[in-house]
Structures are given as structure tokens and as C-alpha cells.
Amino acid sequence: MKILVGIKRAVDYNVRVRVKSDGSGVETDGVKMSVNPFDEIALEEALRIKEAGKADEVIVVSIGNNDVQQQLRTGLAMGADRAIQVETGDTLQPLTVARVFKALAEREGAGIVLLGKQAIDDDCNQVGQMTAALWGRPQATFASKVVIDGTTATVTREVDGGLETLEVDLPAVITSDLRLNEPRFVKLPDIMKAKRKPLDVVPLDELGGHAGAAPATGRHAAPAPRSRGVMVGDTAALVAELKNRGLV
């Protein structure tokens, strides 16, 4: 069985995100970029499934310009067998991304498409669900535990009320939640091995291209700075202050 893992290049979670001064987007100049943390978890899970003898090949996929090769190499160093860069210079909408994964899942004959539940840059949380729908296969999102048994996957998902367990037939789409696992450290010799692993570049158009016009974003702005707080001595002072401001 092949597992297809999506890894997105995103602003590192440690970085304080800033809006460009002209409001046209988020500043990425000189900013540290990393693998979206949920995708790293998805890849870790795929590797564990393979190491347990339940999959034969793990393929990492990233969509973007040549910069994404850096994240693909990280994926290969973690242990993926090969990588595919779907080449485009554009920022894509979730529907286009889902079409790419559907096309690749079919082309590769994947048993599982394992994705992060969302990317920490746009927080869309749509690609996994859309991929499953387009592909006509089951979905198990927000996974906190995955057990593969022959042709089915038993997935524990984190839902509002607690945990829910689903059994889905493979092929299927699974998306990872934060608690699924703790990704491994990359080992230094594996970085060298990763340099020799195959990395194919496929133009976006070959996989269906854009899914139609994207909504245009007007302007980005940082949230208004919070005004300074005031310390009040006791509850009476608090009530007085609130009354004063017409809040109670």
C-alpha cells in the first residue's frame, strides 16, 4: 500500500506573523518557513504505519515553487521514500489543492491520503474533506489514533464532546490532529540519504490546474493594539469603573 502525505510550506510556528506594510499579505521576507506542524504529524503517522509493515511506500507531496523542495527534503530525511513537487507560483484555494491530491491518489493508486487537519497559515481545514468527496472515498478527520487492519482503518477522532471512533474502508483520507503522535527528530545521516532520494516535479496543469476563480482578498490588517489595562484596588472600585464607562 502507498501512503500519500501532503506537506505544506508555512511560516514557522515560532515566528511572530506580521502584515506587510502595504496590506497586501503577510510578511515572508527573511521569515523562517517550516513544514506545517499538522503535516509533520501526518508524515510521522505514515512512517509509523510503514514501519509496522502495513504500507510499502510513503510519498510526500508539496505544491508550490522550488522553495517547497526544502520542506520535501525534510520529509525525505524524516523517512519518506520519494517526493513530488506540484509546481506552481500561485497561492491555491483548498478546492484546487484537493483536486491535486485526488489526481495524485488516482495516479499513484494510494491506499491512504494522510493530510494535516489544517495548515497554520490560513487555517482553512477543508482540503482533506474535499479530497475525500472528489475521490469518492471515506474520510476520517482530526485523527488522534490510527490503527490499520488490512483493508480498513480504525480512527479515533477528537470531536467537541470527546472521542469518536470510526472504521473506514481503504482507500481513504485521514487528517491528523495535534495529539496523534510526536514527530521524530531528523537524523544527520538521513539528511544525506534524503539528497539521493527521488524528487519529481509535476506541473500543476498536468493534474487539472486551477479549480476556477479564487476569491480576491482586499486588504490584510493587524488587529488593533489592546489599550493599556488599569489595576483596580477592590471590587467596589471595579464596579465603579465599569459603571463609569457605561458597561454595567
Binding site: V15, R16, S21, G30, K32, E182, F185, L188
Partner: protein
Amino acid sequence: MSQSEAPETERDVMEYDVVVVGAGPAGLACALRLKQLDADLMVAVIEKASEIGAHILSGAVIEPQPLDELVPGWREAPPPICVPVEEDELFYLGKDSRRKLPTPPQQKNHGNFIVSLGATCKWLADHAEAAGVDVFPGFAASEVRLTESGAVGGVIIGDMGVDKSGAPKDSYVQGIEIHAKVTVLSEGCRGHLSKQLIRQFELDQDCDPQTYGIGMKELWKVAPGKARPGLVQHTLGWPLDSAIYGGSFIYHLDGDRVALGFVCGLDYADPDFVPFEAFQQLKHHPMLRDLLEGGEIISSGARALVEGGFQSLPKVELPGAMLIGDAAGLLNVPKIKGTHQALRSGMLAAEHIHEKAAAEGFDARLRASPVVAELKKVRNIRPGFNKGLWRGLITAAIETVTGGALPRTLSNHADHAELARRADFQAPDRGWVDRSLPPRDRLASVYFAATEHDEDQPVHLQILEPEICTTRCTEEYGNPCTRFCPAHVYEMVEDEANEGAQRLQINSANCVHCKTCDIKDPYQVINWVTPEGGAGPNYQNL
């Protein structure tokens, strides 16, 4: 010492001809030059930052000549931030006043460039990788590997996934050994392996103690039109009294960006002095406040720099290894520039390895080179300031006019020994003002350094004799570590186990790897070791 108690299995080994520790300008220049001289050499560069440049903090106005040699044609494809210097200005500041001084010759920057050294290192690392160097960011060289004959034979990479107590976690990965014929130490100022080797091989027995400064820097996006790209400004005077050596730099970049920093000698005496606060005070001088108000801070950080120069230059070779760049102490203080020295010493080391396939003879070669000649010429300028700003300026003038030819050499003293006991020191009234510009305090500043350490790992700031902290140090100096650390790592808190008493709390996750504590602690009981690879600040264009 820093390795875990975990499994004593044989470490994996990778073999290289040369391993370079630290991807600053010195290490990268050495690695790239090695490949240019012999494409078949196997060269690895180890860097503790999560990505190249993320631990680099500098001014930086750089002299471009060594780059012309190392990367011919670089001016057509320069690093991402690279602004030619248009104008130099030097000011002496009073609390509310400023007086323009003539720019001394060492600080004339015509023909130089203002860069982000972090971004430049990333750019240089790309050149090195393209030439076939294996560059490994995210890995700390935590120990030196000694061969049976007692020579250095490479380094050991720190283990990953070790918990607070030193026990392996589920994610445990044992660090590998990198074996190499020559190990090049380019860890920058106060390198932790360099420090150990200098001591162990007594490399500093014929020179003065090394001396240091602490530098803090912020990158600002100022209100449109306020920055004048290419303008290089330096200040002396306020907020420092004339007993403390130091000053500021204000480098105007493109895109409404200004790099602003503050450097002061770590030989200051006042045990209650807070370098971070001095920097923040400086920003509220009318000259700077006008520039910064209406702007936004983008990133910040701190890093020690070497100031000992010629007198403090240790022997730069030992069996199997050599020291280059700031790890050797090659910064030119009057110029406040070390990058060109780092690049040049790196290239020279490469040429030496290429010819001799060994470290032997490098010390003599470096001393006979323009790198050390440059240091010798200015050797008396920095120690001249030991007697205060005004005597220092006079010495500087004499030494500059004579080109350092006078047959005298002023000596250096260890910084930690210069700290005065509280009982013996009367601090001047610094007249510091209420502040309004960010960051509010050191913790807020750490936020702009984007520093990150997994909290569940051994504390990488080792206190060799912990009982000193709550006894002698509290009495004599009032725990100065709580003040000189720019990241507020050290705190005296109530000791829950011992009512009425205090204990030292080390917030090691905040550490920005500046090395000030390792240098300035008056008892020399703080030992900075490498934390898990990839941990530490994530500087953006510093």
C-alpha cells in the same frame, strides 16, 4: 558532560576530511574556499541554529573586499539586504543633547555595505552548498572528539530527545560522531567548545585574558520617510557614564528599515548595571525617539562580541584543530567590525588545510597575515578606554595618528574580575527616564527574538557551584546575573523548600545564546553548554 546518561551504545559515525563548527561568516568562508580549492574534499558544516543565520546577530556594516575574493561577481547577485553606505555620522550624546563629532578614520565607511549578517550567512550557505559542502543546520556540536593520540579528531553531535533529568524520552535520538582530519572551530564569540579547548590545551598562556562586550540589537520598521538608506550613525555618551565603554549604531536600510544596536564593554564595574535597560534608555534620547516613534519593532536579540584584539589572541592551532573568526578573537574593535576578519581567516584556514592537510603551522600563518597585522595596528585603542571615555579618545587619537607604531602595548584584564562588590561601589545617578517605546521589558524583548527551547531537556546553563549563588554572590554582588542577562533567564525567587530564603531560578527556555553570563559571572561558575540542536533564537534579518 552535556550528553545524557542514556544508552552507552556505539555512536554512528560519519567521516569527513574537514568538519567546521558554526555557520557564521568564518566557517562558511572556510568551507566554501575548501571546495573551491579541491572539489573532492568532503566538508561538513555544523550549525546549532534551526536554520542558517537564525543565531547570527551583527550590525552590520561590512568591508566587501574578502567577499570579492570569495564570491567573485557577488555584487551582481548580492545578499537580500545590502545597502551601500552613503554617509557616516558620529555623535556625542548628552541626556537631551547631541554634538556631532568628526568621524575617526576607522569608522569611515565609504565603499562598505550595510547588510543583515544573518541573511548574508544564509546566502553564503547557499553558495557553499552549491559548491558541494554539506551544511547541517539544527545540530549542535556538543563535545570534541579526541583521538587516542590526544588530538582533536572531529566532534560529537548532541543527543536529541533527552528529558530534564537526563533520561531518554520516546523521541530520543543519539547524536552521531563526525570524524574529520581537521576540525575548524568557528563558533563565534565565546564558543563553548573553543573555550574548553583553549583551556585544555593552554592556548592562552602567552596572551592577555580575552575581553568582551555585549551587543543588543533591534530591527525596526520606521514611519515612511524617516529612514535614509545608506546612512551610518554611531553615538557615544548617554546613557553611559564615561566609566563604561560603549556606544550605539544606527544603520539605515532600505524599505523603511533601521537596524539599531547598543554595545558596551563587559569590563564595567557597577554590579547593578543593566545593559538591557541602558539600551532601552538610549532609544528614548530625542534623536532616536524621533526616529522610532510611529514605527514598529520587527525583531531583537543580543550577542557578546570579542574585544581583546591583538594582546588577547590565543594560539589558534592545536593538534587536529584550528580557531578562526570570533572564536579566535579577530574582531577589530575601533572599526567595530569582525566580519571581514572572519571571512579572511576562514579563507586562510582553507588554504592552509589545502596545502598541509593539517592544522599545524596555521598559527604562524595567521600571525603573518593581514588579519593579525590589522589587529596589531589598533591594539592600544580599546584598552586606552579602561581609564574612561576621555582618556580613551585621546589614546585613540594618538594611536591612530601614529598607526600603532609606538613601542607600547596596553594590557587587557578579565571582564569578570572587573565587577565591583556592592559595598565598594557607588553608582552614579544615571538619570534614566520613563520609557514608552517597546519592548517594555526583557521578556517582551525575548518575544521578538522568537527564541524557543523544549522545556523538557537538561538546563543548558550549568551552575558549577550552586551554593555560591545564594550565599557569597547574594552578599557580595547581589546576583548580577539577574541583571546582565539580556533575556531575563536568571531570577531570584522565594525558595519554597526553605522559608525566608531565596533560590536561583534559571528560565533557560528564554536564552538567546549571547554567552554574556558565561563571561561576566564574577565567580566563573556559569557554564553555557549547547542545548538540543535547533533550539534558541530565530532571528529574522539581524
